[in-house]
Amino acid sequence: MEDYKFLFKVVLVGNAGVGKTCLVRRFTQGLFPPGQGATIGVDFMIKTVEIDNEKVKLQIWDTAGQERFRSITQSYYRSAHALILVYDISCQPTFDCLPDWLREIEEYASNKVLRVLVGNKIDREDREIPTHVGEDFAQRHSMYYLETSAKEAENVEKLFMEIAAELMEQARSKELPRYENNSPTINGRTTVIGDSNCCSRMS
């Protein structure tokens, strides 16, 4: 009966307009640009992928526009397994804001969360941030790095598949139980919550 073996929460952050929603829509629906108005009422998108013959369900959360004035609720970061920090390679200010985002991530996300830096919009001719600069930044902050184009569907599939594979690897090698001590995330949650009647059962 089981529909999937693993469930992971992936959240996106980064300045407004860097293409977070486009990345999600491209990956989950194969659409670009995402339909107008469809964002209203959409909390997160779900896509089940297959890795090593195992079904992995990704729950991908978007910022609901709260990033526009730097007003993302802390609860957005809670229990995330992976965090994708996105900037626009053709827009220097979106890159300059990365340290601010990192500070917020440090503050509210689990310190073990898988962090990926993504330079989006590589289809653009007017690149302002060279690849190696992004790479350097990622390395300095121990993040994975990938450049994507939601428009051309470049590296989008790869981005999410690699995250899914990495998280599954962690879950398998029992690296994830480390979450149990900090913030209970899905794997922790299965046991911790089952024990204590947590009301994820609400509804």
């Binding site: 529909d3 779900i46 609901a64 802390q74 900090n182």
Partner: protein, 635 residues
């Protein structure tokens, strides 16, 4: 400019407290254009939860004298408009007292010694002998031995888990310094307004019916304690508890079950409570010839009432407790993971998902009123003139003229970081304790103890919250309860504890050894007293309590004020207030109809959404249910 906001709204909400956030979500949910502002850089106002660092910043802000009030630039008003400056006394926190009880820094070596001592002790069979160990290094091992013994006693039925337990106990005795605690600042979530949720209370029902439950996680409160005959005792609250408890005799059990049943049976209510309409709940309980133990349980722990509570009020409170039993856990209560401050944010998230615009660190500097003073036109925020059909604001942000007739009351709050539970048990407990009014004169104090599994604090520590109605200052109001439950002497981590608590420790040893069989000790109702938790850090403060205020008197007809945190255990007051405000604004509209699940929205989804409706939120166990597959089948 990035900071330029659109200038017209259906609803502007100022402040991200609980009521404000629910109203914002409800308005956005039915398609209204909502702007939600907060002058703070965090969500929740006086409802917020902070990590240790954030709390320090909050205190700094509180300590700052009120900024000299800037005059409102009247030139910004359009013709026929008046500007009224925002902000008033109800935003003020007072009597702030922070204190440390541990050293700023502890040298590495003593810590190492300490743990080796404890390890030695672990192997010894009769920890009671350790009472003889004098102060100094030996004290620490004695602590270790003592707790080990208590643990064993508490766990006679389940020897399997001994090992894991002992480990956790040893971890608890870690030597904390101020610096070490500060270093772990991110692991704290300390609530300004700690709240529990009744499992069948209005907030839980609303979270479920609106589908906002998916943004939050909860834990069940694992036990309800009471203070009786000078010590802590678990209150039997479920049927199973009543039958298994050793603190209540068999005839008492029958009495208790009968009483609780009659409180639940509504049909016979009239007959049962006839003649008690004007009398107190205590008088009713007395008429039932309850023993004093049972009276205490029902009055203070279950009804959470006082001697002055009227009969029907007490019955209602008892019903509220009983009705919430059996839904999620052993007690009727839930506690929000990461603290109560998450809850308003969940509503904000929903508001944003439906198009609400959010801006923290953005104040409403002035309210724009029409020439007659009857209607609010909008607000001035920074340089912007923002118009709105309705204005909803936290009471602390309202101009003083809007709250002229509001009486002032207050809450007394205490927050304590401790090194062990107020009543140690084999598993980490999440505890509610209604501390009865002492000497008849004082107010009851609500005590909530949470541990690291709720993300309230690092492993090995506990956070104790105390709340009561303000009489004098928070420190004074809570003093008696603090002294009963906690050890509030300074401790350098090695010596102080055994010195100051030596009496109670010795007593504990004697009791323990006189009753060879700990079960026997339990049966007689006597349990060795554990060492009281050492407080590492404490904070007291008073904040306004505004739930009793009538806010409609002095405000324009399209302005709605929201109360700050109230004394009640649950968020019910805010839910009720939010619903009232929403209904006044949009009488024809549904209040927070269920938000669709993502599966139901997928545009090209080839499967019916009916299935999605049944799907529970993804945040639960991976094996929960079969989920819809549209995303998958698209590829």
């Amino acid at each position: 400019m990035e900071d330029d906001l659109p200038t017209e709204y259906d609803v502007i909400v100022v402040g991200t407290g609980m009521t404000e956030s629910i109203v914002a979500a409800a308005a956005s949910r039915i398609g209204k254009k909502v702007l939600h502002l907060d002058s703070n850089e965090y969500y929740g106002g006086l409802w917020a939860s902070f990590n240790f660092d954030g709390l320090q910043k909050w205190m700094e802000e509180c300590r700052q004298p009120n900024k000299p009030s800037e005059t409102v630039d009247a030139s910004k008003a359009k013709e026929g408009e008046k500007l009224v400056k925002a902000g008033n006394q109800f935003s003020t926190v007072s009597n702030l007292e922070e204190k440390w009880y541990i050293l700023e820094e502890v040298a590495d070596s003593p810590e190492g010694q300490l743990s080796s001592k404890i390890t030695q002790t672990e192997g010894e069979e009769h920890p009671a002998s350790k009472a003889a160990v004098g102060p100094g290094e030996g004290a620490a091992s004695s602590l270790g031995g003592e707790s080990e013994k208590l643990e064993k006693e508490g766990n006679c039925e389940k020897p399997d888990s001994d090992e894991a337990k002992d480990n956790s106990v040893l971890n608890q005795r870690e030597n904390w310094s101020q610096n070490k605690l500060k270093k772990e600042y991110r692991k704290f979530n300390l609530d300004l307004a700690p709240k529990l949720l009744f499992a069948r209370g209005s907030l839980v029902e609303l979270l479920i019916s609106s589908n906002i439950a998916r943004y939050a996680e909860f834990r069940s409160v694992t036990r309800v304690l009471t203070w009786i005959n000078g010590r802590l005792e678990p209150v039997p609250c479920s049927r199973a508890d009543v039958f298994s408890t050793q603190n209540v005799s068999v005839p008492e059990k029958r009495m208790l079950m009968k009483l609780l049943s009659s409180c639940l049976e509504n049909e016979d209510a009239n007959k049962e409570f006839e003649g008690f309409e004007d009398k107190t709940f205590v008088e009713y309980l007395k008429s039932k010839k309850l023993t004093s133990n049972l009276m205490h349980y029902v009055l203070y722990a279950i009804a959470m009432a006082t001697e002055n509570t009227l009969c029907m009020d007490g019955v209602n409170r008892t019903q509220r407790f009983l009705n919430s039993l059996g839904r999620y856990g052993n007690t009727p209560f839930l506690w929000p993971m990461y603290g109560s401050g998450e809850i308003p944010q969940c509503f904000c998230r929903l508001c944003a998902v439906f198009g609400g615009l959010y801006h923290l660190k953005r104040a409403a500097d002035a309210i724009i009123i029409d020439a007659n003073g009857e209607k609010c036109i909008g607000i001035m925020s920074g340089q912007q003139h923002l118009e709105t059909a309705n204005l909803v604001m936290g009471v602390g942000y309202a101009p003083p003229d809007f709250v002229k007739t509001a009486p002032s009351g207050g809450l007394s709050r205490g927050i304590f970081v401790t090194d062990r539970s107020i009543l140690p048990s084999d598993k980490e407990s999440l505890t509610l304790l209604q501390f009865p009014p002492l000497d008849g004169a004082r107010e009851p104090v609500t005590v909530i103890e949470v541990g690291h599994t709720t993300n309230a604090c690092p492993k090995g520590l506990y956070v104790v919250h105390m709340t009561c109605k303000q009489q004098t200052t928070a420190h004074e109001d809570l003093k008696a309860v603090v002294e009963h439950l906690l050890h509030v002497e300074f401790s350098d981590g090695t010596v102080a504890r055994i010195d100051t608590d030596i009496k109670s420790t010795q007593t504990a040893h004697q009791e323990g050894s006189s009753a060879e069989n700990p079960e026997g000790a339990d049966a007689s109702g006597e349990r060795p007293a554990a060492l009281k938790p050492q407080v590492l850090w404490s904070l007291f403060f008073n904040c306004p309590e505004t739930s009793q205020c009538d806010f409609s008197a002095d405000v324009p007809s399209n302005v709605f004020l929201c109360s700050g945190p109230d004394l009640d255990l649950d968020f019910e007051f805010s839910v009720k207030q939010a619903k009232e405000i929403f209904t006044k604004m949009y009488p024809e509209s549904e209040f927070l109809p269920r938000a669709p699940d993502p599966e139901e929205i997928v545009l090209e989804g080839e499967e019916g959404s009916g299935e999605g409706a049944e799907q529970k939120e993804g945040e639960e166990q991976g094996d929960a249910q079969e989920g819809p597959k549209e995303a998958q089948s698209e590829e």
